[in-house]
Each structure stands twice: as structure tokens, then as C-alpha cells.
Symmetry: C2
Subunit: 361 residues, 2 copies
Amino acid sequence: MEITFENMEDFARGAAFLGTGGGGDPYYGRLLAQNAIREFGAPKVITADDLDDDTAVFTAAMLGSPPVLMEKGCSGDDIDLAISKLEQRLGRKAEAILPIEIGGMNSTLPIMAAARLGLPIIDADGMGRAFPEIQMVTFSVYGCSATPLVVTDEHLNSVVVEADTPARAEGIVRSIAIQMGLSVMLSAYPLTGRQVKDYGVHGTLSLALGIGTAIREGRTTGNPVEALIQYLQTTPYYNHAKVLFDGKVTDLRRETTKGFAIGHCLMSAMDGSGRQMEIMFQNEHLIARENGVIKAIVPDLICMVDRETAEPIPVEHLRYGQRLKIIGTSAAPIMRTPEALEVFGPRKFGLDEDFIPIENL
Amino acid sequence: MEITFENMEDFARGAAFLGTGGGGDPYYGRLLAQNAIREFGAPKVITADDLDDDTAVFTAAMLGSPPVLMEKGCSGDDIDLAISKLEQRLGRKAEAILPIEIGGMNSTLPIMAAARLGLPIIDADGMGRAFPEIQMVTFSVYGCSATPLVVTDEHLNSVVVEADTPARAEGIVRSIAIQMGLSVMLSAYPLTGRQVKDYGVHGTLSLALGIGTAIREGRTTGNPVEALIQYLQTTPYYNHAKVLFDGKVTDLRRETTKGFAIGHCLMSAMDGSGRQMEIMFQNEHLIARENGVIKAIVPDLICMVDRETAEPIPVEHLRYGQRLKIIGTSAAPIMRTPEALEVFGPRKFGLDEDFIPIENL
């Protein structure tokens, strides 16, 4: 895979799909990456297998509310500062940038960071989707420390956190992020090349680009949702893909609380059958129930797309009366192990249900 | 002045008086210092004038709720960690310890820190009393940076903060402290010897010891409150000292909110005259009004003592029906300048009144 100015629109669209409702507007994410590419040149994409075992891999991400980030803007100085403070703390220079999550804006921000720093970006991430909390990543499941990590804001305030567990780091960083205005830059989980090879979800930059491309090309043939489903079925992780529901939004409740966008969305079927689907979310969609019956549940992916254009719809763009198709897909196998479900299975979001793979529903 | 195991009881009592309601129970503060002295030996006390201009001066303090600290206990490892993380960040070893505030437990914790680290402690502080927020210190008034600072907790999690203003540092640290359970250790305001000489409130360890000694000795003559007032009138800062009120507590409201103990206390005069005094506090007492007329206002000191024994009463020990004398004293001159009032004058606590020196009331 190659990153270019031109393919960032497809890439951001695919990443927004993998954001499963979280991660913000792909338009803004794309602009950030494109501006950085124009100014600094496109970063080279490397695979996890290209890494030496001791390569110093740094992550770059925003944490908080994407709409707030869009209001604040993003100069990049805050990302640079997060990386340089972590380099200072570790006494080691970053040698490659990894997106910690491929979903939403946190796929394009690392491209921006890599471009600014002249570093390669790795075609992998830590979840193959998006998740709301710091500990919800494969690296945490398999014992990598989330800290030392650095949080920065647009005023170039910085905080270096060292915590005994990733969940504790999450608590500390969330309170800092709320204090800093609910949108901060973060470089967490300093990793080695070996750890990325062993615990990363590989190839997800390529998959985001493939998804975005499939949607765009599907629009020329008139059925982008079908084109998207067909593409997903060819992928190594998202192959159990189906349209869960075709309906319009009839009820929407959400609030920004404790640093998250939490709420639910009710939809009625377009076919007039009276069937209803309820989707609950904490930044990302967590569970889809049709008339009370589970159709998909976290960590499998639940994505909302416009029923005509297949454009992914982030939670903040949900509106009463919108006509959407709900697509469910399987998560990467490394995200569905018993150890992984201990960190980001349904119970960790306060749900009473256990995980059931989408292919069994 | 010399610190000894024996004089820590007087010292902690005097420091509790200077805590003006905040800073916690002197009994616990004394135990912390005495345990450290027994284990590591008493630290040497030096004056600000003993410092070289470039001596690396570190502070040590707790931030949050003293009753929580008492419940958690305090091993000292968290203080050591705060100092060593700041040394690591600055690339410089601490050469002397300064109490950032002399009021309450934050006078004995630095003694504990100095004893553990084998460093001298400076007979000075940054306010000559206690204050609730990080920016409320002379060093901030006169342009010294509060950061880099380090926050640690009892699990030995640590956070290094760099902020553009002391008030911003306060916001970030307060949110971290709430997240960490409302009692954390803090090393902020890394200073030079020159800065301590220029902006410190000098001699306040000696004054705390003098106050505690005057109260104890006054008890043997039968009028400790009078003995205390007489002693205060001989001091360089607290010389405008008087009993503002003699009464019993008839109403008490307080809540722990936003990381502070906030409330007010109503008292009725013991002389049956029906006069009433109201005292408002945010950790420390802010204003004393008798039938609506101001009798003393922050940054001057408003202290509550038992009317018989002159034992200082911290806010958390206030009880309905208690019989107390309210003592008001002047603050150090460096605390009453226009620049200082911009940082910790009445308006900074949300009061509608301007500062009036107690000697003019």
C-alpha cells in the first residue's frame, strides 16, 4: 500500500466505517492527512514484518470528542510535542509510527504525525476498529504497558503519566482530557517492533483503503452497500459481513458525559414491517438488538452507513429521520479471544450479554 | 531553630493554627514527622539566607483532602517518588526541601521528606499560612513556574505536568487528584536558592514552633488564648492579632466538591448578646462576618481554636455546639501586595468583597 494525497479520501472513508460510529467525521480526518502530505510529503508505509524486533514504535492519537477537535483545529505542534516528550522520557528516538486504532480520525492523525516527523507508518493497528478507552487494545490484552504516555493540548501543556495498569492510565488520562477541554493528543503504548509483529492487527491501513475504495467504486455501479459487503467478505477479519437492518432513525438519545458520547438510537424498518432496531453506543456502537434480539455485539463491528451512498455516519452526525443501513462484521480473531473479551468484551461496557460471534447470530 | 522528635508536637500545633482551618489534624501530621525522625534522623534546618543562589530547592506537599490522607496512610515512598521523578525530569538532584505552605500537614510532610532524603529543610514557605490551590503562593505571584511538577499516589503511579500557567497546572492536578482518590503527593515549583530568598515567606517554621509553644505554655498559666495572642503580636507577620469572636457553633454546612471542602459555619456569641458570626471556607477560612460586617478577610488569617485549650480546630473537626474562639491575624506583607491579591485576594475565591487589612477593621 502507498499513501498519496489522492487516496486519502477513500482511506478516510474506510477508516470512518471501521470507526463503528466513533472517531469523527472522515472529511476532517482526510484534510489533516492531506495538509500534512502537501507540506511534508507522504510517509512511507511499511508492514509489521518489515520491523526489526527492537524498532522503537510510537503511537499518535487524539483522545476525547472528535467534534471538539474539529472546533479547536489541530496544528500538529501538539502531536510533535507528545512524541518528543515521550522520546525525552524514554531516552530513545521514535523510528516508526503506529496508529493505535484504525477507526476514524485516529487513522489519519498518525499519518499526519509520520509525515511531520519524516517517519514510516506501519500498516497495522491495535484493534482493527475503534474503541473508547485506552486499555481497549490488543497490546494491553497481551501485557504491553500503556505507559509512560504523554498527553498534550493545543496550548502545548504536557503531562507524562506512568501508571501500574492500562485501566488506571485510562482513568488518569480521561480526567486530564476533560480538564483540557475534551480533546487532547496522546502518545501511549511505546512498543517494540517485536510487540507490533506479535500483537498488532496487521494490514488494517490497507483494509481501510480497500473499504473506502469499494464504497466509491460501488457508487458508480449503483449499489455501494452491496459492493461494500462483497469487499468485506474478501477480507481476513471482516469476512462475516451482512446488512443487519435497513431503517430510519425514530429516536435518538445521547449525552456527552464522563468524557464520552453515550446514548442509543432507535430505528424502524423501511419495509413497513414494524420491526425495530436499537443500537447503544459509548463513542462506538456496542450492541444492535432487533425487537430485543441481539444481532451483533462488541467487539464485532456495528457500522451505520447512508442507505443510498454507503457513506459511514459517525454518531455525532446521527439525526432523527435519517435513512440508514446497519452493517455488522466480525472482528479480527485476536480481538475475540477469551483474554481479549476480558478487556473489551460486552461486560466491560456494562452490558449484561456475553459475546456471541456475528456468524452465529 | 532545630527540629527534634520532642518539639514536633508544638510545631504541628502551631502549623495547624497557621492552616486557618485547612491542612488537617495536627496529630497525624506530627506522627508522620516523628516517625521519619525516628527512622532517618531529624533534618537540619537552614535559613533562606543560607542558600546559594543556584541551590536546587524542591518542595514536597500533599494535595487534596487531609482526612483521606489519614485514611490511606502515608508510606513516604510516594513522596520519594515525586522528588526522584522531578530530579529525573530536571536532570538535577534536590539540594534542599522547602515547605510550599506552612499551614497544617504540609509543614510536617516536608520534614518527613527531608528526613527520608537526608536533605536540609528551609525555614520558610510560600505563604505563611495555607491555601487551597496550587497557584496561591508567592512564587507564582512573582513569576516562578509551578511546573514541571510531579504528582504521585500510594500505588506509585506518577504524573509529570508542564503547564503554561500555575492556574492551568492547578486545574490539571486537581482533576488528577480527584481521579487518584483525592489525596496525592506533589512536588511543584522547583526553585533556585535566589528565588526562595527573594520571594519566600521567611522564618515560618520557627513561627509555627513559636505558636505551638506559646499555646502549650499558656495552658500552664490558665489562659492559652491570651498567651497565643501575646505571642502573635511579637511576630513579624501575624502581629495584628485579635480575638474576633467567642461563641458556639449553631449551624454548619460543608461538602466535599470539585476536590475541596467547601462550606460555612455559623456561631452565636457566648455572652448571650445574640451576635452571630459567619465563616465561609474553601479548605481554609476565607471570610469572617459578624452580623454581616466583615471582621477579617483572606489573605489575612482566620483561625478557630478551642475556647479553653486554644487547640486549633481544622474544618473537618468542626461540630455543632462546639465552643470556639475565632482569632484573626495579619498575613505577611508580601502576601498583601496588589500583585498578590490578584492571585489569592477575596475575588479569587468568588467573594464580592475587596481585601481590607485586619488592622483597619
